[in-house]
């Protein structure tokens, strides 16, 4: 009759329910990517090259969405891999469009928000840091951070700093709210069982 969930099981359920956010965020990336590719490509070759990652996004998201609808959601490792791939693809596009000048960096935001709703703090923090580092490196490698004048470079550095702060804030806030809601859910269960002693849980995986 009774069933006791460990934190590991709860984390599993968080991934199950949170997949909706991840899938929705990726659909927005697809639509945004399509708009940008369709309106900014100037040659057939450029268009063909730019559309490849979008098509890849579409296929991956259809697969994840179909599994979710069938009640067989992808496991944690697959979700992590898919989201890491999201970051890499966005960074590749940013790199291709000269780093700081690229407007594709805005695509990091929904991905970071959705990820923050699904995974525990440590994983989410690592993911956000990786996203910020990837974007920072992309801006450095392309040289888009540096201008002929010192002031120009400083302005670019401020721009990069603000963008990184906003990215970190979105990831951090999403995960903060994820933990608040988790505590609310736990409280709902426990409050109606007065007198039950707390049970030691295993660490969340």
């Amino acid at each position: 009759m009774q069933e006791i969930r460990t934190e590991a099981q709860e984390a599993q359920e968080d991934i199950f329910f949170g997949q909706v956010s991840l899938i929705a965020a990726r659909y927005f990336l697809i639509i945004g990517g399509l708009i940008l590719v369709l309106t900014t490509a100037t040659t057939q070759a450029e268009f063909a090259l730019s559309i490849v990652p979008i098509v890849f996004f579409i296929m991956m998201n259809f697969f994840l969405h179909a599994r979710y609808v069938m009640g067989q959601p992808a496991n944690r490792s697959f979700i992590l891999a898919a989201n890491t791939l999201d970051l890499l693809i966005i960074t590749a596009i940013v790199l291709a469009q000269n780093g700081l000048e690229s407007d594709f960096f805005a695509f990091y935001f929904p991905v970071l928000a959705a990820f923050g709703f699904v995974f525990p703090r440590r994983i989410e923090a690592s993911y956000t840091v990786v996203a910020c580092v990837l974007y920072g490196v992309a801006c450095l490698v392309t040289g888009s951070l540096f201008e002929d004048t010192r002031d120009g470079t400083l302005i670019n550095a401020k721009t990069l700093g603000l963008r990184l702060i906003a990215m970190a804030a979105v990831g951090g806030l999403a995960n903060y709210y994820f933990r608040i809601l988790r505590a609310r859910r736990r409280a709902v269960v426990d409050v109606t069982m007065p007198g039950v002693a707390p049970i030691a849980m295993g660490p969340a995986s």
Partner: protein, 278 residues
């Protein structure tokens, strides 16, 4: 099969039970009942409501160690009072909005006070004054939350509108002083993202749609005149703003359903226990 004896009626119960099947009394927790948790099961559709007990939840602690009142938290849910639940969502989400605002304030100060400074002193002064006013208002709201004093829903809605307005005013100041192109070039719009995320996880869906729509409209009006044919770039930015708000409000909905399912299952469990008692 391992069993343990009820301290109240003296009859045997399964080791993993938390209540006596015969009299309904709470059973003492033994190592056997905590160590042998069943493996996670694959579930088609939403899984059964999680029933768990943890020290954090029993004490009603929030992440960050602050105590909350769980009884008050779930009252509206058991009453089936949707407006009460909306207020509780607002109350729970308010700290996220306040945190988002602190991020906005700190980043704004860094942006304003780090060289190179804007050519126009007025622009710097406007930026700093707006940030200080925002910080004072946020300090007041934060004190209300820390002191566990209820904040009116209207104030929470108004403060979120002020956040959006502040970001827009700073961009508009740049436009006024540097020309229409500054609206498109300004990077300040990135602060719409945390602001929208914070309100989307706290506000009911209709309000989130209203605020997000208004934000997108205001930003489009500011940035489009200086976009010089780059309308698609503006469209992509707006779409990402919508994406962040959508993801937030969707998550709020999913979590609400999970919480209601948990409460429902808990009620059914208690009813079963009472039935056996009878």
């Amino acid at each position: 099969m391992t069993t343990h004896r009820c301290p109240n009626c003296g009859r045997e119960n399964p080791a993993e039970g938390r209540f006596c099947l015969h009299c309904g009394a709470a059973l003492p927790v033994t190592p056997a009942s905590t160590g042998a948790a069943p493996p996670p099961r694959r579930q088609a559709g939403p899984p059964a409501a999680p029933q768990r007990a943890s020290a954090q939840a029993t004490s009603g602690a929030q992440p960050g160690g602050r105590a909350r009142a769980p009884v008050q938290e779930v009252t509206a849910m058991f009453r089936g009072d949707s407006s009460g639940e909306v207020s509780e969502d607002l109350s729970a989400g308010q700290i996220v909005i306040i945190t988002a605002r602190w991020v906005l304030i700190l980043a704004g100060l860094v942006f304003a006070l780090a060289p190179p400074f804007p050519n126009n002193l007025v622009q710097l002064e406007v930026n700093v004054v707006v940030i200080i006013v925002l910080a004072m208002a946020n300090f007041f709201l934060h004190m209300q939350v820390l002191g566990k004093r209820p904040t009116l829903d209207t104030i929470v809605y108004a403060s979120a509108a002020v956040d959006i307005a502040v970001v827009s005013v700073i961009i508009l100041t740049q436009v006024a002083l540097q020309g229409a192109k500054a609206g498109f070039d300004s990077t300040i719009y990135v602060f719409y993202f945390p602001a929208l995320l914070a309100l989307s996880v706290a506000f009911p869906r209709s309000m989130t749609i209203l605020y997000t729509g208004a934000t997108m409209a205001v930003y489009a009006m500011i940035a489009l005149p200086g976009s010089g044919g780059d309308g698609a770039v503006i469209l992509a930015r707006l779409l990402m703003m919508g994406a962040v708000a959508f993801v937030g409000t969707r998550y709020l909905g999913v979590e609400g359903e999970r919480r209601r399912a948990a409460a429902q299952a808990q009620q059914e469990l208690l009813a079963q226990v009472r039935q056996r008692q009878a």
